[in-house]
């Protein structure tokens, strides 16, 4: 996804937008070519995430919109206070690009796992959180954030959703990927391919045909809009590359709790035991996300029926 974002940053600079791109020694697809393309508007701050955010605030206070790129695990935790104080409390816009967000790098251990990035960003209270499904959506999120001049966190994952064209951000905060009945599978970011594959297996094996809905944004969400969407289903299943607590499942759960609906919610996400990470119903490395979704829905539907 970062490749598409880099191209968009280059295009923004070339069309006169006053933005700078800062990275903390993190490379990736398109980074080097962006550095060559935008010259001194590209700044590699070195391995110094806190200083990168502070310096970004210095640019923001001067009227230039900072686009800040680093690994999600380091930005969302190590530099969280700088994001809260230097950017948010100063009422500055800016785009924080969380590379390898969520569980992308969980196999490298707790140091690199950003399985709590949504929860941490939500805790700040007023940071827009985007979770695009592919590079095109990520680039759109960037453009929207630059135009809005508000602080945004964009989750980036290295495995984009390749199937089909994704709707642009201007079309609303969710994509109805596959229509269905009774069950709504709500997912976000890089979980979409596994969610869609699980849906196909459920249809083939158990005649259960859930709708698949992709949330492009986690915050802000129009509660009435989301609830009116969900009221048509008896079972809501959230699927995310994030802790079960604090992320998409919690957001939807809070909405349902405050709604007149009586739909049942199942949250599929990561749980932490010591330094190990598991999906909700099995060990992370032994049972796939796809299998977890199928098992959870079949079990619940059998219970309901």
């Amino acid at each position: 996804m970062i490749g598409a974002v880099c191209k968009r940053v280059g295009a923004l600079v070339e069309t006169g937008h006053d933005v700078v791109f800062l990275t903390a020694d993190i490379g990736g697809d398109g980074i080097d070519s962006l550095a060559a393309r935008i010259g001194d508007r590209f700044i590699d701050m070195g391995i110094a995430e806190a200083t990168m955010i502070g310096a970004a605030a210095g640019f923001g206070l001067s009227g230039t919109t900072p686009v800040i790129y680093g690994l999600a695990t380091f930005l969302s935790r190590r530099a969280l206070e700088q994001i809260k104080i230097d950017l948010l409390a100063n009422d500055l816009g800016g785009i924080v690009l969380g590379g390898a967000s969520g569980t992308t790098l969980s196999a490298l251990g707790p140091t690199h796992s950003a399985h709590d990035d949504i929860a941490l960003m939500r805790s700040l209270g007023d940071v827009s959180i985007f979770s695009p499904r592919n590079g095109a959506q990520a680039a759109d999120a960037l453009s929207m954030a630059v135009a809005a001049r508000r602080l945004c966190y964009v989750r980036l994952a290295p495995e984009p959703d390749q199937a089909g064209a994704a709707a642009a951000f201007g079309d609303g905060v969710f994509d109805l990927v596959t229509a269905g009945d009774n069950v709504a599978l709500l997912t976000t970011g890089p979980c979409l391919p596994a969610t869609r594959a699980a849906r196909e297996q459920l249809a083939a094996l158990a005649a259960i045909r859930p709708a698949v809905i992709h949330l492009k944004a986690i915050y802000p969400l129009d509660r009435e809009n989301i609830i009116s969407l969900l009221l048509g289903y008896e079972l809501i299943v959230t699927v995310e590359d994030h802790l079960r607590s604090g992320g998409l499942g919690s957001v939807i759960g809070e909405m349902i709790a405050e709604s007149p609906g009586r739909m049942k919610l199942i949250r599929i996400g990561a749980v932490v035991r010591g330094h190990d990470l598991f999906w909700s119903d099995g060990k992370f490395s032994n049972i796939s996300l796809e299998q977890t979704i199928i098992y959870s829905i079949r079990t619940e539907m059998e219970r309901i029926r």
């Binding site: 001194d40 508007r41 700044i43 070195g46 806190a50 210095g58």
Partner: protein
């Protein structure tokens, strides 16, 4: 103002009066008044000295920061108010220098000659984020960046050198590419010389301003307990008498 707040960080407020006075006396205040994008930037990183910042801004610009009025409000740590010369929120130590780096870099990239000033505490230098930013400024040769360290010798619970002998050490800053100066932090003219924008090299400048915590008030001077406290009536009267009498 401190009375209206109930309590304040008087020790650190009184130690940096001359530092902030010297900075604002000598800089282009008309650019600040006009909110010129290329104005000099003053960042009070030791945000607990906000009351001094309010007083100095009132002195030079006539802006009121009263706690009692219905028009304006103050806080113990400053909030960003660009219409009143407060460029950024402060209070969480170790943030100002990185912001100053970004501002200095922005000025350099836009060919603005204005300077960025960051006022920090000596205890604040124990924060790791200070050193991240100091390394960055030294590496990039941000000669348009001035740091003044209010070296009053105390933090909340101890003498600063009892907690870290090296954090506020000029040698440490010199080793990572800073142009280091030391002055009497209560001597406005010496501060003014050290703050002179005339430069002979491309290093950022750090000025160690040796000061006295609680300066000017006999019951607060050099007292650890002056860091954060209330001021009862009797202390207020004696403080006013000390200041009026030119206590030394």
């Amino acid at each position: 103002m401190g009375r209206a707040l109930g309590a304040a960080h008087y020790g650190g407020c009184l130690s940096c009066v001359e530092i902030l006075y010297a900075i604002y006396r000598d800089i282009d205040r008309s650019a600040i008044q006009a909110s010129d994008p290329a104005r000099p930037f003053v960042l009070l990183s030791k945000g607990h000295a906000a009351l001094t910042l309010y007083a100095v801004l009132e002195h030079f610009f006539g802006w009121r920061f009263d706690a009692d009025g219905s028009v304006d409000s103050i806080s113990c740590h400053p909030l960003r108010r660009t219409d009143r010369g407060i460029e950024a929120i402060a209070g969480s130590l170790g943030h100002g220098l990185a912001i100053g780096c970004g501002r200095a870099l922005w000025c350099r990239r836009n060919a603005h000659r204005s300077l960025t000033y960051v006022v920090m505490g000596d205890g604040e230098c124990q924060e790791g984020s200070v050193w991240e930013a100091a390394l960055f400024a030294g590496h990039y040769g941000l000669s348009n960046l001035f740091v003044v360290i209010d070296r009053n010798g105390f933090q909340q619970r101890a003498a600063t050198t009892d907690r870290s002998r090296y954090a506020a050490s000029p040698n440490a800053w010199s080793a990572i590419g800073w142009d280091v100066h030391s002055v009497d932090g209560h001597d406005v003219e010496r501060l003014s010389v050290a703050l002179s924008p005339e430069r002979s090299d491309d290093r950022p400048r750090v000025i160690f301003a040796d000061t006295v915590k609680g300066r000017g008030v006999s019951t607060l001077e050099g007292e650890l307990g002056s860091h954060y406290r209330a001021v009862p009536d009797d202390l207020l009267q004696s403080a006013i008498a000390d200041i009026d009498g030119g206590f030394r």
